[in-house]
Symmetry: D2
Subunit: 473 residues, 4 copies
């Protein structure tokens, strides 16, 4: 951002401006915030979506209860979008949802059943590969057109995308946001209500110390008004008599494709004495032993989110917007519960906040490698984001996370150094992947083919991977 | 050892003196060495075996071609064995072979098919647990009765046993010996002969830079007279046209239960660009994806060594000795090819050597944790063993090894800190273990029961492990 | 503190409760704070002073403009003072002011002219030695009687005293407070007013990133409303034409014994490109080349604070109190400008703050050793103090600070391990000490004699130190 | 070197081939070695000296007792010298002896009395600055013309010169050699003879563990046939009754300008419990408190080597050579006692050796920064030099060395990054420099002027240094 941007005439560059989830949340939160005004440029390779968001954003200004005046504009040129922006928001779909579906299906055909598929494991690492190529381009553009802007990334795989930006252009000011920890705070708030016989406290009042990597983040201290909520949880779990597994039928009856039964989370808590802060659907993708069959997932209460559901939701979104604008369905102004606008305000000097974000490790987690992107609390103040020291992870967890961080770096190196073999090493070493090396290599090769259009040197796809393993005897 | 032990009146304390493999090798090599003399005290909980070795050791002195004069004595008291010893050799079977068989069978009943089962994976970690308890006792005794002695450990699990000694008594002078790397040198010597059209060079002339942990050690530089043997290997593997998998029938026809087809080793070499220095039977126990079925092992040319074979070999050994002594079968004096006696000579100032051993990491591998036990070359000179700096491992390999080192430390902590939960964390995190947490915990619990007699606080076996995983919803 | 202390019935244990500076500041700030109430126990080896403070504290409650109700009580028993305290405040004079005067005079007689003498250099390290012995006793008592209390240390040498508490009792919750950085913020606020043509901003609005060790702390980022104040300072210094040294006469005419001319601070800024955040009187004690003569100090505008002035101020203090109570001189209620009460409120959950404190390094400064006590910003919230990551120091500064940290650890070790030789190593290595080893040892020996009553093993004072340096030729 | 150089037709490139000390030693040792033959190219900017060495080298071949056949050739072109060389030897005088004299005199005029002036302190760092510029050029040339050659550096400042080579061209194979440790081994051998009542053992039989940086290296283990020589030294020093200082008259009567009385060495040993392995003349240049006056040096028995002596020795050298060749003075073939030729043989596969050298830290000293050039033992074998792990330095010594390493890196950065301010930071931070910042800056500026012809951007000499220190009040 300019050294002294005026809160009344900000420029926000939105990469992925046709977004059908994060863009709407931002619009709503901006509209409800009386302190800021300016323009939001919506850049997208899908200009129809960007234009619809432009229409919605501008329409919202006129609705009752809205405080701010913002101008939205769809732009097809990245340079125009970024030029002198104060803030850049990135929330893209790296590749199509159909591609995502193919990746997950390919993994499934090799016996790997990922419930989400956007962060780690074979489909997540595959998505990571193309994301590095895409974010490299973003980093170069931001560095050229608005190097002083603050960049918020919402795109998954979070760690790989966020790290790519500063690997490519080290001076960029970047942080990555994810609401996964909020759900854990809500769970703890509910537990506090139940076991301390109080009203359910607001999420933000659950004080947590966060440490780990995105979607595999942990909480080693959780308190509400001085009460130790991890001790409460521990006592409660000790009391319960038996492991309560789920049946396939039960789980299939749930009607929320993003449901987490928390059985994995609680089991990990008992084994490692620290609370995982992401949903079970994410957790099992980082661990050995779970994604081996649909039955194994059902047993633990884990639903695999069908990409077809994501696609239909995505396809239905425009009509929902049009219905609001036409008055066919009522428009209810409501805060998103996200912290993005609060962060912008803090960066403008309008009130410090402390919340969890993804940043390069500059010391906040003492037993993970420096410079890897980690998730902890951070202090936001005027033009400044500084991590709060979170301390050290338990040894057993640190070793697992270190393996995942190594894999992320290998994926980034594979693209930036044009050496796909490094990506295959990440696939083989992935803890959720129980395939022998030859099967991993075959799956890898198929995934690389799928991503051929995104990889900088298409020939890489053929490079060495199909070489046979020979016997020298 | 005493500050200035005389090579002519050494005292060697042999813990596991009834050993039917390493003890005989040592006897032979001592007998062939004209520079040393003294006495060897053979301590064992199996006194019959120790007494037979006493008989054999003393008998060998009188055979033709034997140079040295050593006195062997079986001793049932550890204090007498150790008092003022110059050298301590430890080669024990931690627990019976029957117990080892049960461990491997238990793992198999849970779907984990370990070919060796003495180093890592469920049976190796289980063996590790009891070994910590046993080696703690050895460390305390050595520290009390001969704190200046040099200690050579041959017992598996090598890293856990060796590290336990200095965890318990930091000033002890310990190194661990394993001949696994020698086989890789021999393989390279054979390859040099074939592809460089030369006579097969002696193993010791294959210059290797060794780095890793025991049975998962690597070679990133191998040369014969200046020729880069890893480049030769690489060229050769590139030439070959196809991956040559094995059938069950083929493998079963091999008549060597310790055979390595090197297919895993070569595949790893192609993927990670560094040569694993242990046999395939060991390698697959450190990796995900292999031990899932006997078929999967056969395909890669891996035989599972039957413990029954170990038992029958063990049972047959005494008769072999008696046949030598009685003259029924001819006794052929022959060097063992091991380096133990060469090390003793170097430590006495009779000629420096450089060879690979297991030592605490004091800097020799820069990207593994300090103090973990690692395997590299070391320089042996008078009363001194110092590692040679081996450098850094490739990132992907370092992350895997770091996971194994963490697991080893958790196993040691579990016993030394009386906290068996830490051992369960190691089981869950073991890369070869593809079981979900509940199955890992069940297998763990069964293995702990098996080891009940060895664990310092038997109640530990019931502690928390069978607690249910509860659901707090 | 108790897990949930009530802000209306707090117990504060004040060690050094007869304090004539910090105690009065705390009393006033507590009296002006409407949110807290409770009792303050004043422990001191000088019970007269403690009783006078008791009288003053209780008297203040009745004065106009005072909000809170606190009860003050002088106590001669440390156990009673500490039992179940919620907060412990430590501000003692370690040894008498006369002892301090002797230390500084002794150093002077060896050619070392320290302006302050309470932090580092020969007198500061000497004071450190006895402080370790004293704080060891405090740590043990707090650990026994109120292990959950939050401890604020104000005593110098700050780093040594603070670190001793957690070296002795690792679970104690400790931070150290110093207002030295505030003066730098005020200087920057004044500079902002002058060069940006604005009203002088309040100190707290000068946003600084603090990193270093107490009295040798640095600021690598300073902003007011987005304006980079270090750039303003740099421009201004470039403009000025010549180095403006001071004459002895000029400096002697200054009537403030604590004056800092900032000439050293600005020179360091030009050389190292980072702003020292302590006054020049402190800075020169950490650096080579300054304390060699009074002339050298005068030239740089540095006054040596006479201990005689401290003594007379100290002696005059009781009458000042009596004059207030008797009405002889008017009592003006006024906030101290310190942050102690704000910290207490934050720890009780009454409003987060971020301010600079001294804490063990858990990652906040990435190129100083973990666990050393460093000064950075920290986030205070309910029952939680967590450092904000400050990043890395410039290499040249980090090396100097690392030398001082090593010396501090050697001083602590010397007392805790009963090995005074280690303290002599610290004396020799002190950067401000330009004496050769023999002179350093003689000065050291004399200082140890002075401190004989405080050192745990009085014989230490004779141990080896006076041993001659021999020549073996 | 070529992968498989033939010991019978080696090419050695000698940079500084006109050398009047190291070149003669090498010639002699090569001539006495029957195993090697080839050609030595002598490159020098002083071609007369190179040609005289050419004549001498070739003449030596014909003398009685000489084994080898080597051809010497003076070459004025660096490219021709280096092309395809197997070994490169660098022993240059960076700048003239007159320049060295001026540096030392300048420092003296500021009150800094350096006895040697070629390693550290103001003159050593100044020499370092120009050496970086010169060695940068060597590194680029070697990298272009013989990147596989092994490079031996003998030039001081050793650490700065050696590190510059790999900073500029990381793949170069470099080690630095210095005989300073040998003198300590000889001292220990003499002590062993005296106190153990034995014949003086050969230097090489004194087994030492070396760790530190060149000319400030330490020995924490020294043994002869198992006897602990540091314990012998310690006992002996305890016995002696009084510190034996020297008078100016005594010292001036010594007729060896390189004499070391070892009084500093032994005093350090008593204070830090570890033996410094360089002569006192070097040691005092690394320490505070010594170089403040000639009297202070005399007292400790330290002679300042007059550069005029070096110059006259240098000027007399050619006549000595001509006298040999003409037969005027007898030529006595004698080994130099250096290890250079032994190292070459080891690198050719003709016999491993372990000796002390200067190498980048890849782990050999665990508490000094990785990649700094440190001195430890190393194992030389065919085409391989690997450091032997030396362990950790005592904390107090490590902190001092870390300061010197930081200064060395700042000197290198100053030239490679064209930022002379960094070099001034090194000057100010130098522990031997007791000047205040303004005097340090003035001396620095004068030294930079002296070196103007060597620094890559002459304008640097004016850059900022003479800027005044301003006062912003």
């Amino acid at each position: 951002m300019n050294t002294q941007p005026s809160p009344n005439s900000l420029k926000i560059a939105y990469i992925g401006g046709g977004s059908r989830e994060w863009a709407h949340k931002l619009m709503m939160d901006l509209a409800l915030c009386p302190d800021l005004a300016g323009e939001v440029l919506l850049y997208d390779i899908d200009m129809d979506s960007a234009r619809l968001n432009e229409e919605l954003g501008n329409w919202i200004q006129g609705q009752p209860g809205m405080h701010s005046r913002w101008h939205y504009r769809a732009v097809s040129d990245l340079k125009i979008t970024l030029a002198d922006a104060d803030f850049v928001v990135i929330s893209i779909q790296p590749g199509s949802l159909e591609l995502m579906a193919s990746e997950i299906a390919l993994a499934e055909s090799h016996g790997l059943f990922y419930p989400v598929g956007d962060t780690t494991g074979a489909p997540g690492l595959s998505r990571g590969l193309r994301s590095v190529a895409i974010f490299k381009m973003f980093a170069e553009a931001i560095n050229a057109y608005c190097p002083d802007a603050w960049i918020t990334n919402y795109t998954n795989p979070m760690s790989i995308c966020t790290r790519t930006l500063t690997r490519v252009a080290p001076r960029l000011k970047v942080f990555g946001c994810c609401h996964e920890v909020f759900a854990t705070q809500r769970m703890l708030a509910g537990m506090a209500a139940q076991f301390l016989q109080i009203e359910t406290p607001p999420r933000k009042d659950i004080q947590v110390n966060v440490l780990g990597i995105n979607h595999f983040t942990w909480v080693n201290q959780a308190r509400y008004q001085g009460r130790d909520l991890l001790a409460v949880l521990s006592d409660h779990l000790e009391e319960k008599g038996s492991l309560r597994f789920y049946t396939q039928k039960e789980v299939e009856s749930w009607n929320d494709w993003f449901h987490s039964a928390d059985l994995v989370k609680f089991t990990l808590f008992q084994r490692y004495r620290i609370l995982a802060a992401a949903g079970d659907r994410h957790l099992v993708e980082f661990l050995p032993g779970f994604i081996v069959s649909p039955e194994s997932l059902f047993k633990w209460g884990i639903i695999r989110t069908p990409v077809s559901y994501r696609i239909s939701r995505w396809e239905a979104a425009p009509q929902k917007i049009r219905d609001w604008i036409s008055g066919t369905s009522p428009f209810v102004p409501e805060s998103s519960g996200e912290e993005g606008v609060g962060m912008i305000k803090a960066l403008l000097g309008l009130g410090d906040i402390v919340t969890n974000v993804n940043l390069e490790n500059t010391g906040q987690i003492s037993n993970l490698p420096l410079q890897s992107v980690v998730e902890t609390n951070a202090h936001f103040s005027r033009d400044s984001v500084r991590a709060v020291v979170a301390g050290a992870l338990p040894r057993a967890i640190a070793a697992m996370i270190n393996q995942h961080i190594t894999n992320q770096e290998l994926i980034i190196d594979a693209v930036l150094l044009n050496d796909l073999d490094l990506a295959l090493q990440a696939f083989i070493n992935d803890p959720s992947n129980h395939l022998p090396i030859d099967s991993s290599a075959a799956l890898f090769q198929a995934l690389v083919q799928l991503n051929r259009d995104f990889l900088p040197v298409p020939e890489m796809a053929n490079n060495r991977v199909q070489n046979a393993y020979a016997e020298a005897k």
